[in-house]
């Protein structure tokens, strides 16, 4: 099926052998044009870092994306092209999980089509984002602004909302085959479906289904059931073209993408430097630690963005004194990204607070998810201390209560809704029902990983 089309994101580049270049390289060159990894100075590294960071952070479109989502790309390109040339109206939804490359696909198509003057001269683009245009008023205003209709002066749109809407609809209604086609790109399409009455969507789809100005409405969303969100008459107007994008890179392909992202073009700086670097990148990605780290991220989230995320720290640490990507840095990055926030917070607690948490964990295991209150915790705590009477200091109730309140502030413990924390009847502090937000798993993990008194480790 088309969805299973392979994603050859980047064509393999054939790198010439290093050895050749090394023999060509003369160490005492006057021009100092050629330098290896070790000879490179700050400036070179800065340039390299800039390039790699721009790629890793996905600031720009990937340089080579032949074959990525080929059928989807053809479908969308076709729609836009026909809209521009023939004036055929269409609507389509691009659906795919976040990080699958919906926006990238869209922008790469647009940049490709922009080269064709026949198309770029006949189509206007309107880009909306559900996170920015949170209601139809803003959206209509933004459309008017982007179309630069005549009621716009210097980014300000005149008239009341009703006037703006009717003006816009009036503008779009006129069609004698002369007006330019309009491409609407709605990002976060599902949020537009939450607008009141879905007026905007209805009207856009209505225009696309009637003989007015040719429009193409393309929605990008990550919700699979987005069509169900549409009201029935809006849904009827939608042409039901759903273009699905999924993460379909296999792990090997993902590694290849990483390699391509890290590879420097040979004509970038010094040839010797680049070849040395590229071979180093190859070795680096084949290191066991790196591979398992990438695998770990890939298993969690298949999007290329998540895989890229651990490469950033090694890149940022590059420099004359540190001329290689280091697997230790990768481990650092992985540790940072996979660090559990709650466990990290637990590590900063006092012994007393830890004891309380342990007591609560016991209680949670005992009562299986029912709520607890401070009295119960204190009771349990005393039992726990008595068990290890000689090693742990026993604190009084007020001290424990103070420590306990600290835990509430840290949101490791959370009051249950409607349990007398607010409102008219305030229950005494000690008896308010609470819920432990730390899982036993996290507690155990913390106790094992962190240097706390061995008495606590049961």
């Amino acid at each position: 099926m088309m969805l299973l089309k392979r994603h050859r994101r980047f064509a393999a580049r054939s790198c010439p052998e290093n050895a050749e270049y090394r023999t060509i390289f003369k160490p005492r060159m006057v021009k100092k044009k050629e330098y290896g990894l070790k000879e490179a100075d700050d400036e070179v590294w800065e340039k390299v870092q800039d390039l790699l960071r721009a790629r890793i952070c996905q600031n720009s479109l990937p340089e080579n994306m032949d074959g990525t989502f080929q059928s989807q790309r053809e479908h969308l390109t076709d729609l836009i092209r026909r809209c521009a040339t023939i004036g055929e109206s269409n609507s389509a939804l691009v659906i795919g999980p976040s990080g699958a490359g919906k926006t990238m696909l869209m922008s790469s198509i647009l940049s490709e089509l922009a080269k064709d003057s026949k198309i770029s001269g006949n189509i206007l683009q309107v880009h909306l984002n559900g996170l920015l245009q949170t209601d139809d008023r803003l959206a209509v205003q933004e459309i008017t602004r982007q179309l630069r209709l005549e009621n716009t002066v210097k980014d300000r749109v005149f008239g009341s909302m009703a006037e703006k809407l009717s003006f816009l609809l009036e503008a779009l209604k006129k069609d004698e085959g002369k007006s330019q086609s309009i491409l609407f790109v709605l990002e976060e399409f599902d949020l537009f479906a939450h607008h009141k009455n879905q007026t905007l969507l209805y009207n856009l789809f209505d225009i696309s289904q009637s003989e007015q100005t040719p429009v193409t409405v393309i929605g990008l969303t990550c919700r699979l059931d987005v069509v169900e969100l549409l009201e029935k008459r809006v849904k009827s107007g939608f042409s039901h073209r759903q273009i699905h994008l999924f993460h379909s890179l296999s792990f090997e392909q993902a590694c290849k993408v990483c390699e391509d992202a890290l590879t420097l073009p040979l004509n970038y700086l010094s040839k010797k430097f680049c070849t040395e670097w590229n071979s180093h990148v190859k070795e680096f990605l084949q290191e066991r630690i790196v591979e398992t780290s990438l695998r770990h991220l890939y298993d969690l989230d298949k999007s290329i963005r998540s895989v890229y995320s651990i490469l950033l720290i090694p890149i940022c640490r590059l420099g004359p004194s540190h001329p290689r990507l280091d697997s230790a840095d990768v481990l650092d990055a992985l540790k940072m990204s996979s660090c559990d926030s709650k466990s990290a917070m637990l590590q900063g607690l006092t012994i007393l607070q830890l004891c309380l948490i342990i007591a609560m964990k016991h209680l949670a295991e005992l009562y299986e998810g029912s709520n607890i209150n401070f009295e119960m915790v204190y009771n349990e705590y005393q039992k726990f201390v008595q068990k290890k009477s000689n090693s742990i200091q026993c604190f009084g109730k007020p001290v424990c209560l103070k420590a306990f309140e600290q835990l509430i502030v840290l949101e490791l413990v959370r009051p249950v809704e409607g349990s007398g924390f607010t409102g008219a009847k305030l229950t005494p502090k000690e008896y308010r029902s609470l819920k432990l937000l730390v899982t036993p798993l996290q507690v155990v993990e913390t106790l094992n990983s962190f240097s706390c008194p061995s008495e606590l480790k049961m």
Binding site: G159, E163, F167, K174, T199, L224, R233, S239, H247, S248
Partner: protein
């Protein structure tokens, strides 16, 4: 020394009283016997060491004991004095000695008190540029110059400021801040400047500095008191206010002129004389002077000093209209201001050839673009549209929902019903409503439109009386009450607020209108006009019940039982019983619809059409879907076309299209989900199975997840990571959750859970292979 300044030539007297009278001279003799005439370029020295270039407009004697000799001068800027901004905008490169008109409306022309001192001609300053900057530039220039130029230093000295804006239209409320400066009736400050013609800096009697770049010999102090006409140059803030005020004034004036509601101004004499012999002329002639009413202009001067300045207050400036200041206006403003000054100080103007203002005011200002005047239009294409040529392309064009055929197949009965209803009512002059309901895509709106077209042809044939059609759509309104506004706008072209429109319409439909045509009102998406009070629905259905209304309402909505469900009794009773329901299309009808559109084209296999029709009929009966499927099938056929094949759309293409449109993407989504996401879903399902509940907490799923991971030989990820997996899944709406209680909630989709189960096992099988 002082005596050496004396008038030369004849003078003209102006002003009746002795104290106020002025004598105008043409020439002034300087101590060194040089004679300065009006129109000469002079250098005026400043105590601070700056000297300025000016052109003498005229000399006069105010008849007072002290400082009686005065001159009125127009400031010019040298190139070095131009602020950077102005230079940038200059159309051409300035000559070193070029002078620039200092075209600030208020303070560019000042009165200089020669007193006993001098004014000197300095012909060496160079040529004076004419029209080098357009007017706007000059204005901008000034506001920049105000901040940067040392001209401000004058004001520290002794300048006589007074406001000269009497009689100008002014807003009352909005300008309050900006008028701060002018509110005081007359403020006087004086600036003392020495005006050197030939004074070297070393020789400064009485502690006043003067210098002259050209004539170093003469060593005289000249004191000039220059009387600034406006009060705004002493502080920056006021300056800005001034600009703002000017802008507003302009608007006001424009308004006055545009509306012509106000009496034209009484005097606005254009001093041509001044321009005749000064380089300003070129610039000035470009300007279009506009001016405002000036009550009592003849007695203005006397009134100026006694009375508060503003006489006329124009209220109600539209805020919205002030965005675009036209450039012309800047120009006209500045020149008219000049004129006012002129007329202030030289009311008689015996020597000046006068020009009637009437001729000039005719020059119309550029029409301002307001929202009302704007025509709604999209930019036009660069190349004309292509027309489809290939059969598949033609088929696609015909299958587009917008390409409505001339006659609607399968809706003949409904069409005749509606048509005869409206026609009968029109002929019998009976007014009433018709309610049309039916699920989306059953041709309601299309039928009504076809009916209207048919009626119109009959009107042309003279069979039925002419009528007016008004169409509103509930979805195109921002708010139900806007319906009134829209109806009124279509009916009479008036604009009104919803409440006002409602009452106007009420009046319109209840009073007899023998001459006007009956109205057919189409209300689409009626259910959206529902309000709590139902006043919109009530009025719409109430109007036809009035005997003189001449109104037929055709209301269209989705739901059949709308009147019973949402309308109050008094509304539904007025709606009456004339209702019509559009049934969803059957597969035969759908097939016919597609076939009618494709008549004469060999693009589709007949089985293909039938398949599409059957699929759609089984799902919704929405004609749009059927058309969309067929359209998509043509695309697929086009792309997969092989050489030698017929090139028509076959069964497989339609099947593909149907699958694309209606298949659930969940299967693919799960198959392409990451390993941990799949494990999480599996954990979710096993949790649901174990508990038998539709809801579970994240903690429970976590346990399941970790144990599943262990089972499969993965190291379990940290809790944060699992949470992020969960969030990721939720963004695709596999599971919904309530964050507050950290609770995962299954949304009434045991079906989808089952589906997922099937999928996951299928997936496992796949992965085992």
């Amino acid at each position: 020394m002082e005596m050496q300044y004396c008038w030369k030539g004849k003078f003209t007297v102006e002003g009746a009283s002795k104290r106020r009278s002025k004598k105008y001279y043409e020439h002034l003799q300087l101590p060194d016997q040089t004679i300065v005439s009006t129109g000469d370029i002079v250098v005026i020295d400043n105590v601070d060491g700056e000297d300025f270039v000016a052109v003498v407009e005229h000399f006069y004697d105010n008849g007072q004991a002290m400082d009686s000799k005065r001159a009125k001068v127009q400031w010019y800027l040298r190139k070095s004095e131009l602020p950077a901004l102005g230079e940038l905008r200059m159309p051409m490169v300035a000559h070193e000695q070029e002078l620039f008109l200092f075209n600030r409306p208020k303070s560019s022309i000042v009165e200089v008190d020669i007193g006993t001192t001098v004014m000197c001609s300095n012909k060496t300053t160079g040529r004076v540029s004419q029209g080098n900057m357009d007017v706007v530039d000059a204005l901008d220039l000034f506001s920049a110059a105000e901040m940067s130029s040392p001209r401000k230093k004058y004001c520290k000295f002794r300048a006589e400021y007074k406001t000269e804006i009497c009689g100008r239209p002014r807003t009352t409320s909005r300008l309050s801040t900006s008028q701060r400066g002018e509110n005081t009736p007359t403020r006087r400050k004086s600036v003392r400047i020495s005006v050197p013609q030939s004074c070297p800096p070393l020789d400064r009697g009485k502690g006043q500095k003067h210098r002259d770049p050209t004539k170093t010999k003469s060593q005289r102090n000249r004191k000039l008191v220059f009387e600034d006409v406006d009060s705004d140059s002493d502080s920056l803030v006021e300056d800005e206010n001034e600009d703002e005020r000017l802008a507003k004034l302009k608007r006001l004036k424009k308004k006055v002129i545009e509306s012509k509601s106000e009496t034209p101004r009484t005097t606005s004499k254009v001093s041509v004389k001044r321009r005749k012999d000064t380089p300003r002329q070129a610039v000035a002639s470009k300007k279009v002077p506009q001016s405002c009413p000036q009550p009592g202009a003849s007695s203005r001067r006397s009134s100026l000093r006694k009375t508060p300045k503003r006489r006329i207050n124009f209220s109600s400036i539209k805020e919205e209209e002030d965005e675009d200041d036209e450039d012309e206006w800047d120009g006209s403003e500045s020149s008219s201001d000049d004129e006012e000054e002129e007329s202030n100080y030289r009311p008689s103007r015996a020597k000046t050839p006068k020009k009637s203002v009437k001729g000039r005011t005719v020059a119309t200002p550029k029409v301002k673009v307001s929202a009302k005047a704007a025509t709604p239009q999209i930019r036009s294409r660069k190349t004309p549209r292509k027309t489809p040529s290939k059969p598949l392309e033609q088929a696609r064009a015909r299958l587009h929902v917008s390409a409505v055929p001339s006659s609607l197949p399968c809706r003949e009965d409904e069409f005749t019903d509606i048509f005869s209803f409206v026609k009968g009512h029109l002929i019998d002059k009976l007014w009433g409503c018709l309610y049309v309901s039916g699920v989306p895509g059953t041709g309601k709106t299309a039928t009504v439109h076809a009916m209207l077209e048919e009626l119109n042809t009959e009107v042309q044939e003279g069979e039925i009386p002419a009528f007016q059609t008004i169409e509103i759509n509930g979805m195109r309104l921002t708010e139900p009450h806007q319906a009134f506004v829209q109806i009124l706008k279509h009916l009479t072209g008036q604009k009104a607020t919803p409440q006002h429109a409602a009452s106007l319409l009420e009046q319109y439909f209840s009073s007899p209108r023998p001459k006007s045509k009956p109205v057919v009102l189409i209300v689409d998406e009626l259910d959206l006009l529902w309000t709590r009070k139902q006043d919109v629905l009530y009025s719409i259905f109430d109007w036809p019940t009035k005997p003189k209304s001449g109104l037929i309402v055709v209301a269209i909505a989705n739901t059949m039982d709308l009147p019973e469900r949402i309308m109050m009794n008094r509304v539904s009773s007025r709606l009456g019983l004339s209702r019509m329901t559009f049934q969803p299309y059957t597969f035969k009808q759908l097939q016919e619809i597609v076939e009618v559109r494709l008549q004469g084209l060999r693009a589709f296999d007949s089985e293909a059409i039938q398949l599409a029709a059957r699929k759609v009929a089984a799902l919704s009966g929405d004609a749009r879907r059927a058309l969309d499927i067929c359209r998509r099938a043509t695309e697929i056929a086009e792309r997969t076309k092989q050489k030698g094949s017929k090139g028509t759309v076959g069964l497989n293409h339609v099947e593909w299209a149907v699958e694309e449109m209606f298949c659930s993407p969940k299967i693919m989504a799960i198959r392409n989900a990451s390993e941990q996401e799949q494990i999480f879903l599996r954990a979710l399902i096993s949790e649901f199975r174990q508990s038998g509940l539709e809801e579970t907490t994240f903690e429970e799923v976590l346990k399941q997840h970790v144990s599943l991971c262990r089972l499969q030989g993965f190291t379990p990820p940290s809790v944060s990571e699992i949470w992020s997996v969960c969030v990721h899944l939720a963004s695709s709406n596999f599971a919904t959750w309530k964050l507050v209680s950290m609770r995962l909630e299954k949304e009434s989709c045991s079906m989808s859970v089952r589906m997922m189960l099937g999928l996951l096992s299928a997936n496992q099988r796949v992965s085992r292979h």
